[in-house]
C-alpha cells in the first residue's frame, strides 16, 4: 500500500529565544592564555622550588618561545640536558628559585644552557584531571 505522508500542523512550536541573534562563539581558554600558538608549548612543573611565586608541583606551565627575554622573567631553560623552570638573573648569570630551601645556581661557561622560552601562565588543577593523572606520579 502506498501512503502519501501529510504532516499534521498542530501549532506547538514554542518561542524562539530572544537571545538567538546574540549568540557568539563560546569562550576559548586557548585564545585567552596563548598569544603565539606556533611558538608555545605546554609542560608540567615538577618540584617545590618555585612555590614562592605560586608554581606548585603538578601545575601546567605555558611557555612562549617568541618573547624577548627580560631580567627577572620566569623562564624554562635547557640546563645541562634537562628542562628547568627558574627566575633568570641576567646581571649575575644566575638561575634563582622562589623558595628558601633552594639557593641560586650560577651559570658557568661549562654548563650547557639555552633559554627555551618564557613562562607566561601557570595553571593549577584543583581537581585531578584524568588525562593528566598518568604523569602526575
Amino acid at each position: 500500500m502506498k501512503v502519501i505522508p501529510i504532516f499534521a500542523e498542530a501549532g506547538i512550536t514554542g518561542f524562539e529565544s530572544p537571545a538567538a541573534e546574540y549568540k557568539e562563539l563560546g569562550l576559548s581558554l586557548d585564545q585567552l592564555l596563548i598569544k603565539h600558538p606556533n611558538a608555545t608549548f605546554i609542560g608540567q612543573a615538577s618540584g617545590q622550588s618555585m612555590e614562592g611565586i605560586g608554581i606548585f608541583d603538578g601545575d601546567l606551565l605555558i611557555v612562549d618561545r617568541s618573547l624577548m627575554l627580560k631580567n627577572g622573567d620566569i623562564i624554562v631553560a635547557n640546563f645541562n640536558g634537562c628542562f628547568v623552570c627558574k627566575i633568570i638573573d641576567k646581571v649575575q648569570a644566575r638561575l634563582l628559585s622562589a623558595s628558601k630551601d633552594h639557593s641560586p645556581v650560577n651559570i658557568s661557561p661549562e654548563d650547557d644552557f639555552q633559554v627555551e622560552g618564557i613562562v607566561t601562565r601557570s595553571i593549577r588543577l584543583h581537581h585531578k584531571s584524568p588525562e593528566l593523572t598518568a604523569c602526575m606520579l
Binding site: N38, F41, G43, C82, Q114, L132
Partner: protein, 418 residues
C-alpha cells in the same frame, strides 16, 4: 624572487626539540617498522653514519658511537611541521608547502621592500629556530628550481652557513658549478646517468645546453628545468600542486600475518587511508589495486595482486572496503606468512568532471563522507572507522624506540624541573 626553506634532517631535529638530553648527541630516526635509517642529524653525519642503511646492518656502528636511535614519531613531526610552516608564512606573500619539511615562498609585492636577501634569509632562520627550535636552510632564487639549488648550497656547500642567494648570473654560476646534475630539482636518476655519459656532470653544464635540443632528447619537463636554471620561470604553483595520478598506502607488518581477518583489517585500513586522500584532492577511484606478499627474502616467495574495477568511480570508504573484502579470498592463502600488504588507487577520475552513467546510479554519498572526515579531523583519526578495520591493530607497525607525543597527548607533555 622565490625561496625554499627546509629543515635540516627534520625527523632527527624534531626529536631534539622536546628532549634536551639528546640535543648535543648523535641521533638517527628509523623508518616504518624500524627497518631503515631515514634521518641522520648533523652530529651523527660527522661520525659517518650513513642514511638509508638497514638498521640491523649497522646496529654495531650506532652502538659504538653511542648514537641515540628513535622510531618515526609522526604525531610529533606533524605538529612541529605545522608550527614551522606557520612561522614561515609570516615572511612571504605566497607560500606553497611542498612536503612535511619543505616550503616554497614567493615574493610578489613585498619583494621590493627587502633590501638584503642574505640578511632576510638569516632573519627567517633565526625566527624558526627561536620559535620552534628547528634548524633550517634557506635558498633564494629567481625561479623555483634556482631556489631549490640555492637551498642545496645553503645546507651542503661550505661557506654558506644556512643561507644562499641566486640573484645574478655570477651567483648562479658559483653555485651550479659545485652541484652535480643529480642534485638538480626535476632531474631523476635515469636522466642524470644519461647526462653524465655525455659529459654533463654539473648543474652549470646542464644550464648551458640548448633547451630545444634537451626537449628533443629528453622531455618537455627537462627542457623546463634547463630554462629555470637560466632564470626563466616555467614552473607555476598550480603545476606543483597538480593532483596525484595514483595514491598508494602500503606497509610491511610489525610481525608476520597468517590470519585471514587480520590481513583483511590491514587491507581495509589501507583502503581507508587511500580513500581519504582521494577525497582530499577531489578525485574518484576507478581502479583499485589490492595486494599482499611475503618477504622477498623468504624462500617460498608469494605475491598476489588483484585489480578491482568500480562500475562507477567512487571516493566512498564503504565502497572501497567492500571491494577489498570481496577479493580477499583470491589473495589470502592458508599457511602463507604475509609480510607486506597495500592498496593503491591506480586509476583516478576528477569529481568535478564526472560523466554520470545513464544506467548506474552514483551511490558515493559525498555528504556522508564529508561528515565522516569532519568527525575524524576534529576528534582524531580513527574516531569513526569501517567495521572491517577491526578494533585492535595487531599488525601495527613496530615502533620500538618511539619518543613521547610531547605536543599531542596530555600524558606525554614535557616535564619541567622546579
Amino acid at each position: 624572487m622565490y625561496a625554499l626553506v627546509d629543515a635540516v634532517s627534520f625527523y632527527a631535529s624534531a626529536e631534539k626539540v622536546f628532549d634536551p638530553s639528546i640535543r648535543n648527541k648523535p641521533v638517527v630516526v628509523l623508518t616504518n617498522n624500524d627497518g631503515c635509517i631515514c634521518a641522520v642529524c648533523p652530529i651523527a653525519r660527522k661520525l659517518g653514519i650513513p642514511k638509508f642503511e638497514s638498521y640491523f646492518k649497522i646496529k654495531w656502528l650506532l652502538q659504538k658511537h653511542g648514537v641515540v636511535v628513535r622510531s618515526s614519531n609522526y604525531e610529533l613531526y606533524a605538529d612541529l611541521s605545522e608550527r614551522m610552516m606557520n612561522v614561515i608564512s609570516r615572511y612571504c606573500d605566497d607560500q606553497h608547502i611542498y612536503s612535511i619539511d619543505e616550503s616554497f615562498l614567493l615574493f610578489k609585492n613585498y619583494g621590493d621592500l627587502i633590501k638584503d636577501w642574505h640578511q632576510y634569509g638569516h632573519e627567517i632562520r633565526r625566527a624558526i629556530w627561536k620559535e620552534t627550535k628547528l634548524p633550517v636552510g634557506v635558498g633564494f632564487g629567481t625561479t623555483s628550481t634556482l631556489a631549490k639549488a640555492a637551498n642545496h648550497a645553503a645546507k651542503k656547500l661550505p661557506g654558506y652557513n644556512g643561507v644562499a642567494v641566486i640573484d645574478s648570473n655570477k651567483s648562479a654560476h658559483a653555485i651550479l658549478q659545485q652541484m652535480s646534475v643529480s642534485d638538480v630539482w626535476g632531474i631523476g636518476r635515469k636522466i642524470s646517468k644519461r647526462l653524465n655519459s655525455q659529459g654533463i656532470k654539473n648543474a652549470f653544464q646542464l644550464s648551458t645546453l640548448s633547451p630545444k635540443a634537451v626537449r628533443k632528447e629528453f622531455s618537455v619537463a627537462t627542457e623546463r628545468t634547463v630554462n629555470e636554471l637560466n632564470g626563466i620561470k616555467c614552473i607555476s604553483w598550480d603545476e606543483v600542486r597538480e593532483p596525484k595520478q595514483q595514491i598508494f598506502s602500503t606497509r610491511s607488518f610489525g610481525q608476520k600475518v597468517v590470519d585471514k581477518y587480520v590481513l583483511q583489517t590491514a587491507l581495509v585500513k589501507h583502503g581507508s587511508i587511500v580513500s581519504k586522500k582521494v577525497r582530499q584532492q577531489s578525485s574518484l577511484v576507478k581502479k583499485l589495486l589490492i595486494f599482499a606478499s611475503t618477504s622477498s627474502y623468504d624462500t617460498n616467495y608469494y605475491k598476489q595482486s588483484i585489480i578491482y574495477q568500480f562500475p562507477v568511480a567512487t571516493d566512498n570508504s564503504c565502497d572501497i572496503s567492500s571491494a577489498i573484502s570481496s577479493v580477499l579470498n583470491e589473495i589470502f592463502v592458508k599457511g602463507v606468512l604475509f609480510h607486506l600488504c597495500g592498496v593503491g588507487a591506480i586509476e583516478l577520475e576528477s569529481r568535478h568532471f564526472q560523466q554520470s552513467d545513464l544506467f548506474m546510479t552514483d551511490n558515493s554519498n559525498p555528504a556522508l563522507m564529508k561528515c565522516f572526515d569532519k568527525i575524524n579531523n576534529r576528534y582524531g583519526q580513527g574516531t569513526l572507522k569501517m567495521g572491517s578495520e577491526g578494533q585492535s591493530e595487531v599488525w601495527q607497525m613496530r615502533r620500538e624506540f618511539l619518543s613521547p607525543q610531547f605536543t599531542s597527548n596530555w600524558k606525554d607533555i614535557p616535564k619541567i624541573k622546579c
